[in-house]
């Protein structure tokens, strides 16, 4: 089985070379094949043959093949980069390299490395080494202070997924097919027709199909599997909620605060304050407001309107909404800050011209202000997503502790609960690898899709 994978890599390597080079030489085909095999072999070299040993499941094979494919692909990308440099294609990079060689840095190749070394050392010690350790840990069953550890291969990962390997392959393929289908339709429909409108709707649903496919791929629990599907669903809901609330709210407030009103600078400063508060304090604040026994909000609702506010921690929707509210409120100030800065760069001439042409406030907002803000929106999207993924732990811990029945337990909360509080290092590491991959995938996807539509002004 393992050999088969390597053989496939040996064949696919030259294919990749053929696709990306004009009239490649035999030597290049050979190198491509070798690099693909090496890349594919990296995983088995690091982990051994464990995924193919007796007793391993189809899901184990699938994960091993995916990693081998990923390794081969990465190797080929690097190879292609080198080929392009040899061919002089990477013009920008080459120009910069030339500038560095001929410009101010004519002191020997090692000088930049010496100057970089403090940063590099810190990165290696505090970032790269722990990251590698996390990958190693994720293949083990081990606990803090345990005298030994047991290798479990992909066990910590497979228990998060459904057990049918064919479905695991089929779901993402279906989602990808849906996306390409919608894209094909979009390209073959002309503007302002019903066909284009249908294609637009289909594109949105195709994007959603990725979320649905992932939802179907995670295990609902039972039979020795970990119920990760609910965690995934919570993460999607709460993350999207925080990002949507934080960014739309941030833009709305910034747009209002941007108007020329007396004392604007003072209350603009106030608006930014929530950002200076730590997630834990935000959690405590909202806990104090909404607590069913001692909360200010519940007390006021009761004494002023006679409304008995239900306990938000016993109701899944209320609990998730309150987490979104608290976390979104905290990031709001940050978004306002950037949008306020961004609004100052919007060209007043364009707006003036639009006013003269009779454009309404809404039209001016959607056609001029929003596009001008797109670089900032893109930047905020990335930072807000990272915030919603990684920094909500303290807020959740203070407000709900994952209640009710795990409905507010998002990925990062689960990682800390399992890995740190329960001391189950292997599972915690595996889940954090999963989150790591998710964040990389989302960022790449954002750069590809959103990046195209971002205008930075100029030519």
């Amino acid at each position: 089985m393992l050999i088969l994978g390597l053989v496939i890599a040996a064949v696919l390597g030259p294919l990749y070379v053929w696709q990306n080079n004009d009239n490649p030489t035999v030597k290049r085909y050979g190198i491509g094949s070798a690099v693909a095999v090496l890349g594919a072999a990296a995983t088995p070299l690091a982990m051994g043959r464990c995924a193919f040993e007796e007793g391993s499941s189809g899901v184990d094979h699938l994960l091993a093949y995916s990693l081998m494919a990923g390794g081969a692909w990465l190797g080929l990308i690097v190879l292609q980069f080198l080929f392009d440099r040899v061919d002089g294609k990477a013009a920008e990079g080459a120009a910069m390299a030339g500038e560095i060689r001929t410009g101010g840095f004519r002191m020997g190749w090692w000088v930049p490395w010496v100057l970089l070394s403090p940063t590099l050392i810190i990165l290696i010690v505090f970032l790269y080494l722990p990251a590698i350790q996390t990958f190693t840990l994720s293949t083990k069953l081990t606990r803090l202070g345990a005298p030994k550890s047991v290798d479990v291969c992909f066990g910590n990962f497979t228990e998060l997924l459904i057990t049918d390997p064919w479905k695991l392959v089929a779901y993402p393929l279906l989602a990808v097919a849906a996306i390409y289908g919608a894209r094909f339709w979009l390209h073959h429909s002309s503007p302002n027709t019903w066909s284009r409108k249908g294609a637009d709707v289909a594109s949105v649903f195709a994007m959603l199909s990725i979320f649905v496919a992932l939802y179907a791929m995670f295990s609902p629990g039972g039979g020795g599997q970990v119920a990760y599907r609910p965690v995934y669903l919570n993460t999607v809901i709460i993350t999207l909620g925080i990002v949507a609330f934080g960014m739309i709210g941030g833009l709305a407030v910034a747009y209002l605060a941007f108007r020329k009103i007396r004392g604007a600078t003072v209350y603009r400063t106030f608006l930014i304050w929530p950002y200076a508060i730590s997630p834990a304090v935000a959690g405590v604040l909202f806990f104090m407001i909404f607590d069913p026994t001692a909360g200010i909000f519940t007390h006021l609702m009761d004494s002023w309107f006679g409304i008995d506010v239900p306990n938000y921690r016993e109701n899944a929707v209320l609990a998730q909404a309150s987490i979104i509210l608290a976390s979104g409120w905290k990031i709001l100030g940050y978004n306002i800050l950037f949008y306020l800065a961004g609004l100052q760069t919007v060209s007043l001439d364009q707006i003036e011209a639009a006013v003269l042409d009779g454009a309404s406030t809404w039209q001016r907002f959607t056609k001029i202000v929003l596009p001008a803000l797109s670089p900032i929106t893109f930047f905020l999207l990335v930072t807000n997503l990272v915030y919603a993924f990684f920094e909500v732990y303290a807020t959740i811990d203070f407000m709900t502790k994952g209640a009710p029945a795990g409905k507010t337990s998002v990925a990062i909360y689960e990682i800390i609960r399992i890995g740190v509080k329960n001391g189950d290092l292997g599972r915690g590491a595996a889940q954090s690898v999963l989150l790591f991959v998710a964040v990389i995938a989302i960022t790449l996807w954002q750069f590809r899709s959103t990046g195209e539509r971002v205008t930075y002004g100029g030519a």
Binding site: L141, T142, R143, L144, G145, A146, P147, K148, S149, V150, G221, G222, G224, D291, P292, T293, A294, N311, Y312, R313, E314, A319, T400, K401, G402, A403, P404, A405, G406, R417, V420, K421, N422, G423, D424
Partner: protein, 472 residues
Amino acid sequence: MKGLLRYLVLLAVVVLVAAACSSDDSDSGTTTTAASTETTAAPSGDVTTIDFWVGFTDYRLDWSKETAAAFNAAHPEYNVQVTGFKAYNDVWDATVLAVDSGQPPALIHFFEAATRQALDAVTPDGDPYFKSVTDAVAGRTEILGEPVILDSVISAARNYYTVNGSFYSMPWNTSSTVMFSNMDMLKAAGITEPPATWAEVTAACDAIAALADGPSSCITWPNHSWFVEQSLGQQGELLANADNGRTGRATEVYLESPGMLAYLEWWKSLSDAGHYLYTGVQRDWDGTTAAFYAGDVAMLIYSSSDTTAINETGTESGFEVATTFMPRNGDVDYVGNLIGGATIWMLGGLDQVTEDGTLAFLNFFSNPENAAAWHQLTGYEAITTEAIDLLVSEGFYDENPANKVASDQLAAAKNTPASLGALLGNFVGIRDVITIAIEDILVNDLDVATRMALAQEEAQKSLDEYESLFGG
């Protein structure tokens, strides 16, 4: 001139840094100081530092610091340094890191459910983390002038922490579960005595719910596995095999026992009837007491650790508080409640001077006067019979009968494996499984037996994995 000045400043910085580093060395980590004491033949005035890591940050930490200061004053050759941590698990994580780096403290404060974990932990060299306090005392009746109090520790605590015949760690904060009742509310519903059994609680709650101006709910307690374990002890049910892990390593966990299901069914029936108030937070110690103080419930089942505070606050809020035994299952014979809380563990590998000082401190820390003061301050058990005698002779219990309830309850327990409580690997994780299952049952209205079957599977897997790493 300017160059010289710069040089002097630089020199000053270097000297300051060096000084800071060396002073750091002298007060952090027992091992370094102890080592230097040994090699330099301890000139008088040399002080041995004993680090003591405590899992409290509130007034209980203050009390331990004051007690340590009193010990330091009496023994100037020692310096006990108390450091507070947010939670027991934080103490543990810090200890693991400290042991790995070879600079462990002398004493750590760790909780009952982690006893197996503490005993199983080994240093990188393969030695156990901790040394049995009994072994270290080695039959002495006095250490550095401090009388040894190990033999007079109350039996419930002594038996809990005795593993393989050795009384390992020194009990400190020890409590049991008791019930606090708002007697004004109970009397308004025509109930003169706090209910003692589950059926009586349900009946009392029915009566309270019928009140026109009664509380919104009737009873609450934290969703903490400890209460489940207490209930199993009362009903004489084991949580794990090998006599609750007392006669050997526990390898099977029982989350579907009749006693477990009976307790959870009763709990759910209270919740379904609107009698039980769930604050929506697991292990919610603060929210449940707040509900009791606010008059949202008539009864609170809670740790006896806060007996003093709850009685005082109740009186201040203007209602009469009655403290009674934890309600039990009236359909089965009562076996016994167990303890909870934490003990102080002594790390292995201390040199003789440090170890003697550490043992002297431990026995000073819980000597009759200190143990009695600790009980009066908090409500945790007076941990030795001598301390109880002292409190009796001072007439404390006559004035504060509520403080006697928990120790009476422990004294009423039969000494069986069930009422001792379980020693179990990965107990913290298994407790988590139980807590989550209960929340699921209460919030999502699930069938008790079905949900506990799932919990059983999870908990057993967790225990199996633990045993594969630590067992045999």
